[in-house]
């Protein structure tokens, strides 16, 4: 009964979404309060039913109900409970269900937190959200239904792809989807504004926190995925410029741009049209990210051909939402009132600069990701666009952003003084120059780009510190007062500083890892030793072990530094019988922000085993930087002024009471 109840709940959610996509929108056009107020309740009900549906699928996984095709194909009765639960979204159908669950969650959030939104805006937004929901429910039910059944259930499932049997899967896709789907809020607000032909002040206040929340989840999701690939795939690489990764990076770039332009819109009432466009783009790229990756279209034209119904559906959804919203934009955007004006050298100007480069960088990633696909469709020629392409296009476009980043927050709104800002940043420049010089002295000329990368990273980090120092006026007042002032600074200022500092950290990690990463690939017999970066690793031998649904060969490496034992590493190879697959479990030793990485290759006939050993200096900074960025986002999100939105009626009755007097 449970799977069928889940199925029915999903169908009901679709029916509710259909209602919600028509009635509130009609109500908004007729200015009919009753019709409009159906939207929040429907959104909540929709969430309840999707949650039920998701819970039913999860229950089927947990109880290994192989009469559900989806469970049979992606689960195994012996899998640990946590993986049974995570395999719900470890496959196409289940992950789409997670997608709509998150979409419904955001819809419910708008319903709950949006009490102070203007009625018309809220009804429009929820209706637009529901359009997206309808498309996705239909897609799931008609082409990717996770609740299909087998009349004669097999006794064992086909197991989850072993590579996904990892804690990373538990958190990575949900975070990524929170990010992707979070942009749907900005999208719905944008479309609502276009339909209504005006942008409310409340709009501006809403878009930033929601975009920020989505951006944080996406940042964390991307970082998590990168770390997961790093330790699970056994290659020690953390970013491959793979289409799948690019698909998540593009919405991130657009989302970051959106975040910054939303600041301008909120504070200065300017850049409205541009913000609307970015909101549309960010969500469109999220859709492309979800769909093209999920459906396999991006990696293989043939998946598309072999399953035309799914492919055509996807194309229809993409055309409808991306094409539709852009058409609406072209038609209605001129109606939106232009906002405040500003000089090119100003905080706004800096944010425009940031936007310009972020979107251009995003465009190059887009080209690099889709060009092979287009070329193959047109000429049949097969090419691969690899890391060199992105290094040559994306990196140069990101450098100006990094240089301008510390300046932005120091510039005044409306009209800024670049010279004064440069003066304030002298200390940061000094630190950067010292960094360049020291690196040159240490590394010599063999890595020419590294010193500049490090200089840039230090400049970004020092610049973020400078921002706080300047705001607390440390130089003119005493330390005590400055500290009090720093604490009293708006949290969003701290958030900016942290986020910008995090970017610097990530860059530092990237540069150090790529420049000074050392690698040894050797075949070792028990008792043999190898040294790398001052560490001596002795191969102790291997032990066969049995896991719940796999067998593994675990090895033991004793790590010594200067003769003293510092750690024991146990990398292993796991064999999963059901899918006859092998996975490599790397072993990591963290020292400071650096890591020693050991992973296994094949066993040779002479009893030796191939081993890959890397020393990766400061590699952890790459992900720690992302965590710091997210922390900055969290600070900014917790800023009281963001929460104010439009003041709540209950807490501030005085404001409303005065209103008729206006």
């Amino acid at each position: 009964m449970i799977p069928e109840a889940g199925h029915y709940a999903l169908v009901l959610a679709l029916a509710l979404a259909l209602f919600q996509s028509v009635v509130p929108m009609a109500g908004a056009r007729w200015r009919d309060a009753t019709l409009m107020q159906t939207a929040p309740v429907t959104a909540l009900a929709q969430f309840v039913f999707v949650a039920l549906s998701f819970a039913a699928l999860t229950a089927s996984y947990v109880t290994s109900d192989f009469s559900v095709v989806n469970v049979y194909e992606n689960s195994h009765s012996l899998m640990p409970l946590i993986y049974k639960m995570t395999s719900v979204w470890g496959n196409h159908e289940g992950s789409m269900l997670l997608w709509v669950l998150i979409l419904a969650l955001f819809g419910a959030a708008v319903a709950v937190f949006g009490r102070n939104l203007p009625d018309v805006l809220r009804a429009d937004v929820l209706a637009v959200q529901s359009w997206i929901a309808v498309a996705f429910y239909l897609f799931i039910l008609l082409t990717s239904n996770p609740f299909l059944r087998i009349a004669d259930p097999p006794f064992e499932g086909r197991d989850l792809n072993p590579i996904l049997q990892d804690f990373g899967l538990a958190v990575h896709p949900p975070l990524l989807y929170l990010g992707y789907v979070g942009f749907s809020i900005a999208f719905s607000f944008a479309v609502a504004a276009l339909i209504e032909g005006r942008i409310d002040a409340a709009w501006a206040r809403w878009v930033r926190p929601w975009t920020l929340a989505a951006w944080m989840a996406l940042t964390l999701g991307i970082a998590m995925g990168s770390y997961w690939a790093y330790y699970e795939l056994g290659w020690g690489g953390w970013w491959f410029w793979d289409p799948v990764e690019n698909a998540s990076l593009m919405p991130w770039l657009a989302g970051t741009a959106l975040l910054h332009s939303a600041v301008v819109m909120e504070k200065r009432d300017a850049l409205k049209v541009w913000t609307v466009l970015l909101a549309i783009l960010a969500f469109s790229l999220s859709l492309i990210g979800t769909f093209l990756v999920r459906s396999g279209v991006l990696t293989s034209v043939h998946t598309f051909a072999s399953d035309p119904s799914r492919g055509v559906f996807i194309l229809a959804i993409l055309t409808l939402f991306i094409g539709g919203s852009l058409t609406l934009f072209a038609w209605r955007a001129p109606a939106l009132r232009q906002g405040g004006i500003f000089a090119p050298i100003s905080r706004e100007g800096a944010l425009v600069f940031n936007n310009l480069f972020l979107t251009t960088a995003c465009a190059t990633v887009f080209v690099g990701t889709l060009y092979p696909l287009a070329l193959e469709a047109l000429t049949g020629e097969k090419i691969s666009v690899g890391p060199p392409f992105f290094n040559l296009t994306f990196a140069p476009l990101f450098i100006p952003i990094l240089i301008a980043m510390p300046m932005g927050p120091l510039l005044a709104w409306k009209r800024g003084d670049l010279f004064a800002v440069a003066q304030r940043l002298l200390a940061a420049c000094g630190i950067a120059v010292i960094g360049v010089a020291v690196t040159f002295a240490l590394a010599g000329v063999k890595a020419v780009l590294a010193p500049f990368g490090i200089g840039l990273a230090l400049f970004a980090m020092a610049g973020a510190v400078t921002d706080i120092v300047e705001r607390s006026a440390l130089r003119s007042v005493g330390v005590g007062i400055a500290a009090r002032r720093a604490i009293g600074l708006p949290r969003s200022a701290w958030g900016t500083a942290f986020a910008h500092f995090g970017i610097g950290m990530t860059l530092l990690g990237v540069v150090c890892e790529t420049t000074w990463n050392s690698e040894r690939i050797v075949a070792l017999r028990p008792g043999q030793a190898v040294s790398i970066a001052g560490y001596d690793l002795t191969f102790d031998g291997m032990v066969p072990k049995t896991g719940p649904n796999y067998r593994e060969v675990a090895t033991r490496f004793v790590v010594r530094r200067g003769g003293a034992q510092v750690a024991v590493l146990e990398p292993s190879k796991r064999t999963f019988a059901t899918r006859s697959m092998t996975t490599t479990e790397a072993a990591l030793m963290t020292h400071g922000a650096s890591q020693l990485y050991v992973s296994l290759g094949d066993t040779n006939s002479d009893g030796s085993i191939a081993v890959r050993i890397y020393d990766k200096p400061l590699v952890l900074l790459i992900w720690l930087g992302a965590v710091v960025m997210v922390f900055g986002g969290l600070l900014s999100l917790s800023d009281r002024r963001l929460r104010v939105g439009a003041p709540r009626r209950r807490s501030k009755p005085a404001v409303l009471a005065q209103q008729p007097a206006e």
Binding site: N74, I150, I163, V244, P344, F353, S384, F389, L392
Partner: protein, 165 residues
């Protein structure tokens, strides 16, 4: 500055950045694109030695020889033509005889291939797309994946989980 002038300046900047990006893209396209070839392509197109390509096909049964120092030799075949490949290093978990493989590297004199990276995806049913096409062209491969499966497509990895390399 009037609003109009300001807008012109902004559009100008935008176009300049765009031009820069186009330049970068075109420049990168010239140097860093790698073409995919099957053994037959290599033979027929007379690809010059030293050109960087991706070579895809099946690892010929019985051709895999492991030497000292993690040296590996094997033959990539698409049924019609064979190309011997040299590689030093650790091969992916799923590298096996009779399995599809994509190797990236350069053609050397004598029509051998020196690979500097071997790509294989982590799925027992996975056949690299290019390899599948190339083999199909030679009529050597039939889609027989997904035995007895009731719904269409094989469930893949989640977003961003698609293993690489």
């Amino acid at each position: 500055m009037t609003r109009k002038q300001r807008r012109l300046v902004m559009i100008g900047c935008g176009l300049a950045v765009l031009a820069l990006a186009v330049g970068l893209v075109l420049n990168a396209m010239r140097d860093s694109i790698v073409f995919f070839n099957s053994p037959t392509d290599v033979v027929e197109k007379h690809i010059q030695t030293g050109t960087r390509i991706r070579l895809g096909g099946m690892v010929k049964d019985g051709s895999l020889v492991r030497g000292d120092n993690l040296q590996i030799r094997f033959v990539v075949t698409d049924g019609a033509n064979d190309i011997p490949v040299n590689y030093q290093g650790i091969v992916p978990d799923l590298f096996r005889e009779g399995q599809g493989v994509v190797a990236e590297g350069r053609i050397e004199p004598g029509r051998t291939f020196k690979a500097d990276s071997i790509l294989a995806k982590h799925d027992e049913n996975y056949m690299p797309r290019e390899v599948a096409d190339a083999l199909k062209k030679q009529g050597r491969w039939q889609e027989n994946e997904g035995k007895g499966e009731r719904v269409g497509e094989k469930a893949g990895a989640p977003a961003n989980a698609e293993p690489r390399k």
